[in-house]
């Protein structure tokens, strides 16, 4: 082989994707102010090497074309049915750096309607924080200007479920603002 680069087209490594073998453990949040913020959570894939490669190419090499790889899986995701999708947003500073909103783009490519209800309050990267610090950090999201939360069922969409901090913070904001239920769908269970 040469250093022509790892397969440029992720569809080829799609064969290496495996379904997530466990669902996000929401119970971890019992006893915190965020207990019950999320009513359900589903992840589509496990975080194996093929998925890491693909996600790295999508997020860090900014290969927007790869958003389409997940369109079919998102179409078939039961949890999206009957709920309004809300993508977990990026901070505006990050967005300019990354050049496209990586979660939103997944929905755009899949042709799934969504409501951009939330705004990120900090450009801080959660990945740098320890587990305790993540769980206890200040609110990460607020309602976007002019956003209206109805008494309806919402599903937050994000790429990774790690500790669940991001999603619990986001769900908390929606619940406080009147959402009847908030579920979460992530591509990957890390």
């Amino acid at each position: 082989m040469t250093d022509r680069g790892k397969s440029l087209l992720c569809p080829r490594c799609e064969g290496g994707f495996v379904p997530a073998d466990s669902m996000p453990p929401l119970g971890d949040w019992n006893g915190t102010p965020y207990e019950g913020a999320l009513d359900a959570a589903v992840s589509l894939y496990a975080y194996n090497d093929a998925m890491k490669t693909c996600l790295r190419q999508y997020k860090f090499l900014k290969d927007a074309a790869l958003a389409a790889v997940f369109s079919d899986a998102l179409h078939h995701a039961e949890i999206l049915k009957g709920r309004t999708a809300v993508p977990v947003p990026m901070h505006p500073v990050r967005l300019v750096e990354r050049t496209f909103p990586q979660v939103e783009e997944l929905l755009v490519q899949a042709g799934i309607p969504y409501a951009p209800l939330l705004e990120k309050t900090t450009a801080l990267n959660l990945g740098r924080l320890g587990r305790k610090e993540r769980m206890a950090s200040d609110p990460l999201f607020r309602l976007a200007d002019g956003a209206e939360v109805r008494r309806a069922d919402y599903v937050l969409v994000d790429d990774l479920y790690t500790t669940g901090t991001t999603l619990h913070h986001a769900a908390h904001v929606l619940k406080k603002s009147g959402a009847r239920s908030v579920a979460a769908l992530t591509l990957i269970r890390a």
């Binding site: 040469t2 250093d3 680069g5 440029l8 290969d63 927007a64 967005l95 783009e105």
Partner: protein
């Protein structure tokens, strides 16, 4: 506008001389994403205003004669529409295209700037020393002299040398000569393995000069290199950098297929720079690259003077079925057992990774030490090292190992040589892995097949022809 040799020129400018200096050393001869500059990112703006650094948009729009337009990546020069993707860009606020062809080097989009050094050129130091003390055979000597002459005259050169002719040794003197005149030289090869093999040899052979080895995943190297040993792929990141580019093993995949890699070699040459190609199996594409005014040296024999091993052609009909049924084809089994018995290191080439992996358990049955390698295998280098050091008896491999591997007493088999991946050039290269050391100048090369192909025939004919030519050449008293 060249600064005299071996004198460290000092750049003018406001923002700290040290950084400008660092930035020039890094950028001279390169073309780089402005956003990803490893040094002097803040200073770059000043230097652009002063005209010392030039900029181009990452993706250019080219107008065609019939009024249409298409995109061209300013780094890898691809114009293939399939290589571009358009998206709604939040950085420039427009629909923006980026190149997927060279994505791994950092994404280049329409709204990105590529920068290059266009100020006065800093010469590399001229105190390169040839520390290599080996001796050349008369044939190598003649080829080295011819190559050196061409490079100094600015004439393209083709060095056609059989596998095991000692091509690397032939390069030492001409490369040293260019370096000692303050010229910048690049040795480019399609394969990372070859870069990794050449780098330590050149570091040992030529002192007093900065040498960089560049491949996917390597660093960028410190300072301004006189000699760059790089994969052809890495040349995407150079622009008017070298006085001479020597493409080694030039016909190896993917160089011969990818037009953009050929353009990259051209782009990396300074105006008036010179191209040389070193190969064991010159293809029509390479001959046309060298052109009519190009000169040519031929070495039909290996450095130890023994003929090339001629492959034996052995049928292995229906081997796929047998392997799928979990059984080892008899002849292949017998061959492997013979190698194990005689303790001869061996390589068995497979046309595909799945077939090879299907076979591995069957081989493990014969000897648990037998390993398998392919392009993305994480322990690839360790396994090859283990074979070289005799810690494992043999390796199954894809064509990844066909070049740049030298192991004494190596025996070779190809399982499924009728497959298209084993073309004439690949078979010649593979056969050339055997019998490379003077103590063991021959070795068994077997093509196990399910039907003989014209490519197999052509390879055997070509090897016989070179051997005949070799006998004649050695007989010549003038050498």
């Amino acid at each position: 506008m060249q600064v005299p040799c071996s004198e460290n020129s000092v750049q003018r400018g406001r923002g700290g001389i040290g950084i400008h200096d660092e930035l020039q050393k890094f950028l001279q001869g390169r073309i780089w994403l402005r956003e990803l500059l490893p040094v002097g990112k803040e200073e770059a703006g000043d230097l652009i205003r002063e005209g010392l650094i030039g900029t181009v948009p990452g993706v250019a729009t080219i107008r065609k004669w019939h009024g249409g337009t298409h995109s061209r990546c300013s780094r890898c020069l691809t114009e293939d529409a399939r290589h571009f993707h358009a998206f709604n860009c939040r950085k420039c606020g427009k629909v923006c295209r980026y190149c997927r062809h060279c994505l791994n080097m950092g994404r280049v989009a329409e709204c990105d700037e590529l920068v290059y050094w266009c100020g006065p050129e800093r010469r590399t130091a001229c105190n390169a020393v040839l520390t290599w003390e080996g001796r050349l055979t008369p044939l190598q000597e003649r080829a080295a002299g011819e190559l050196e002459e061409s490079l100094l005259d600015g004439k393209p050169h083709l060095l056609h040398a059989v596998c095991g002719a000692g091509k690397t040794e032939i390069l030492f003197r001409p490369v040293h000569r260019l370096l000692s005149e303050g010229k910048r030289v690049c040795i480019a090869t399609p394969r990372t393995d070859v870069v990794l093999e050449l780098l330590p040899r050149f570091e040992k052979a030529i002192g007093g000069t900065v040498i960089h080895g560049l491949y996917g995943g390597s660093g960028n190297g410190e300072g301004l290199a006189g000699l760059v040993i790089a994969t052809t792929h890495q040349l995407y990141r150079f622009r008017e950098a070298f006085d001479a580019v020597i493409v080694d093993e030039a016909d190896a995949f993917p160089y011969s297929f990818d037009r953009t890699l050929r353009l990259a070699v051209r782009k990396a040459l300074k105006p008036g720079g010179v191209l040389a190609v070193v190969t064991a199996t010159p293809s029509p594409a390479i001959l046309s690259e060298i052109g009519r005014e190009g000169r040519r040296s031929v070495i039909p024999v290996r450095f130890h003077g023994h003929p090339l091993p001629v492959p034996r052609i052995v049928p292995l009909f229906g081997y796929r079925k047998r392997i799928s049924a979990g059984k080892m084809p008899e002849r292949l089994k017998a061959w492997t057992e013979e190698r194990l018995k005689r303790k001869e290191p061996f390589l068995i080439f497979f046309p595909s990774v799945p077939l090879m992996e299907q076979c591995l358990p069957l081989f493990s049955h014969l000897d648990a030490g037998i390993g398998a390698v392919h392009a993305t295998h994480p322990d690839r280098r360790d396994l090859v090292m283990a074979l070289r050091e005799g810690r494992i008896p043999g390796l199954l491999t894809t064509t990844i190992l066909e070049r740049g591997i030298t192991i004494p007493r190596l025996q070779i088999a190809v399982a499924g040589s009728e497959n298209v991946v084993f073309d004439r050039s690949a078979i010649i290269q593979i056969s050339g892995r055997a019998g490379r050391s003077p103590e063991h100048p021959d070795g068994d090369v077997v093509l196990f097949h399910h039907g003989v192909t014209p490519e197999m025939d052509a390879a055997v004919r070509e090897i016989r022809r070179l051997n005949r030519e070799g006998v004649k050449t050695i007989g010549l008293p003038a050498l």
